[in-house]
């Protein structure tokens, strides 16, 4: 039949990329760099996918853009994409993938047909849900919704928020809520242990947010909107233990209970799919280069298995060069050489205790043989005794870093940050950082600002008799001033005394992580890890 506005042949690209998130953008850049004509469609008004909601510093190492904040990585990718000639089309909703790699796209009031010699699907993930009485009430939102509201639209999702889920998303978003000026009344999780990185949990805990593990929501209270939450403790069979009910006043309940690959488009296209719980759900079966069962249709990022944005970017590159190879833009040798490097980079991210193969496992020792803190996994902080057992914590005269990093996570910016070689991680980026007692710390603070987990502090007992100076990373407003007196909080977020701000250091290289040096009585030197402004307390 004729199209109403039939005309020339359908526009054909070498490769059509669906989704302008971290995977889609890197895939497009890589393809375009190799000479392919690339178009990227994204349904959102802004490109970058989740990157623009991720305002924390990334983990990994330099090659993974570690210690850069997600949204800045997004900016960088967009800039590169435009430089290499990638056409990014926004507000463009892909409606379907049809035979012969035809893609129909809704742009404004039109349905536009395109063809690609290859298609790279990088649609990302969708949030999982959990049901409880009242879960449909206004005020119950997804964690992604909270991020969208506060980080993209500058609107607080609520004033008092209860977070359900202690995976990295739950932890990171809890922290972001605090940064946006919301109160987080509690982080709860039905699992008996915190699911995300210990360092992410610790930075939330030390702000005074309580964790309730083995707890679930019984009911969202309220008639037309959330006014409170009743939670309860669960037993080994996930049943509520009678008498453990607790009530929290809250206007918002944030759900962060995992992600699922948004793979519907691939299923529609006819790709062979499989259910893989380790990848978060229904994913396409694909080869090492991300090519699905349909030749020429590739995948990259969360849609092929839930991971972090860092790995999505590498997968994007791999599928980009694989598409280039499949269309004859590069030869096999070039593909294999490039892929080898990228695969090694991907492997280095997939190590450590949070590696995909360790999902669901309970580890009690680090790779080096240190005990993993159960207190960290259950309460969100290391005890004073535990802290001292890790290789990043050494007592020393004069200013020195104290690295409270106790889990094998793929991250090493601290090593690179220290020009004096005080901090050693080595080749394997999941190793715990070791503080070299012999090296001389100059107190530059680069490591404090570089630590994506905010687990590095500078401690100095030699400045003033009877006091310890502690330098902490600080990412809140208003920024305290020198001379301010406030509350000294310990790792669990409890008040242990008073602290005085002696220095506030801000530098471009710190990238919005301010270095707050506070002084506390010497006996609190190993306890205090956060500073709470008094005016905040009075409000």
């Amino acid at each position: 039949m004729t199209f109403e506005r039939a005309g020339a042949v359908m526009k054909r690209y070498d490769v059509i990329v669906v989704g302008a998130g971290p995977a889609g953008l890197t895939a497009s850049i890589e393809a375009a760099k190799n000479g392919l004509k690339v178009v990227v469609f994204d349904e959102n008004a802004k490109p970058g996918g989740q990157l623009f909601k991720q305002i924390h510093k990334f983990f990994g190492s330099k090659e993974h853009k570690a210690k850069m904040r997600g949204f800045k990585i997004g900016d960088e990718l967009l800039k590169t994409a435009s430089e290499v000639g990638v056409e990014v089309v926004l507000n463009a909703t892909v409606i379907g993938i049809f035979p012969d790699k035809e893609v129909t796209v809704n742009i404004e009031d039109q349905l536009i047909h395109y063809k690609g010699d290859a298609i790279i699907v990088a649609t990302g993930a969708t949030e999982n849900m959990v049901t409880f009485e009242g879960w449909t009430l206004p005020g119950v939102i997804g964690a992604g919704a909270a991020q969208t509201m506060m980080n993209l639209h500058s609107v607080k999702p609520g004033n008092k928020v209860l977070m359900l889920g202690s995976g990295n998303v739950g932890l990171v978003v809890s922290y972001q809520l605090l940064q946006a000026g919301c109160e987080v009344v509690a982080v709860i999780d039905a699992a008996p242990r915190i699911g995300g990185y210990g360092v992410h949990a610790s930075k939330v805990t030390r702000c005074g947010v309580p964790f309730y593990l083995s707890h679930t929501i019984i009911k969202a209270e309220g008639d037309t909107r959330v006014t409170g939450v009743t939670v309860g403790e669960v037993d080994g069979n996930w049943q509520i233990i009678e008498g453990t009910q607790k009530y929290f006043e809250a206007d918002t309940i944030c759900l962060a209970v995992g992600l699922s690959p948004m793979s519907q488009l691939l299923k529609m296209a006819g790709c062979t799919m499989e259910q893989d719980p380790k990848k978060g759900g229904l994913v396409p079966v694909c080869n090492q280069y991300g090519e699905t069962s349909i030749s020429g249709i590739f995948v990259a990022g969360d849609v092929s298995g839930i991971e972090e944005a860092s790995s999505a970017m590498i997968e994007g590159k791999i599928s980009g060069i694989a598409a280039a190879y499949s269309l004859g833009y590069i030869d096999e040798e070039s593909l294999v050489t490039k892929a080898k490097v990228l695969e090694a980079s991907l492997r280095s991210l997939r190590q450590g205790m949070f590696a995909p193969e360790n999902r669901g496992k309970i580890l009690d020792k680090t790779e080096e043989g240190y005990d993993i803190s159960m207190n960290l996994l259950k309460r969100g902080y290391l005890t004073e005794e535990e802290v001292e057992s890790y290789p990043g914590v050494k007592s020393k005269k004069g200013i020195h870093p104290v690295i409270e990093c106790s889990q094998n996570i793929p991250c090493n910016p601290c090593q690179d940050a220290c020009s004096k070689k005080c901090i050693l991680i080595g080749e394997k980026i999941t190793s715990l950082p070791v503080v070299d007692k012999e090296a001389t710390c100059t107190g530059c603070g680069m490591c404090v600002a570089a630590c994506s987990g905010q687990s590095i502090f500078l401690v100095d007992e030699s400045q003033e008799e009877g006091y310890t100076y502690i330098t902490i990373p600080y990412e809140f407003l208003p920024l305290p001033k020198k001379g301010d007196i406030g509350l000294a909080l310990n790792r669990s977020g409890s008040e242990v005394g008073q602290a005085e701000v002696v220095k506030v250091k801000t530098a471009k290289a710190y990238d919005h992580t301010h270095l707050l040096t506070i002084k506390v009585p010497t006996e609190l030197g190993l306890k205090v890890r956060f500073f709470k402004q008094l005016q905040e307390v009075l409000v």
């Binding site: 949030e127 009430l137 997804g142 008639d223 037309t224 407003l477």
Partner: protein, 103 residues
Amino acid sequence: MRIIEHPILGESIKGKLIKFEFDGKIVEGYEGEPISAALKAAGIMVHRHTAKQDSPRGIFCAIGRCSDCVMVVDGKPNIRTCVTPLTEGMKVQTQYGVVAKTV
């Protein structure tokens, strides 16, 4: 509810402050932001009441997937307010089932 200055993102950059109508009342919001953001900032959380159970619903996913935030906008029902930009004078109404309440 608005975040004026953010420790990482800095000052929020918004479009022009404009007026729109919510269930007959005049409300302010920024041009181009999602309707739902403007409503949220104005403290409005109930976007619709469901057809079967008449239960209130509001923002849930905020990215245009779940369709819980739909409202009647300029007379058209089922508009996803979380991905529809606000414009001057827009008429936004609470949706009951698939229609606005007739006054």
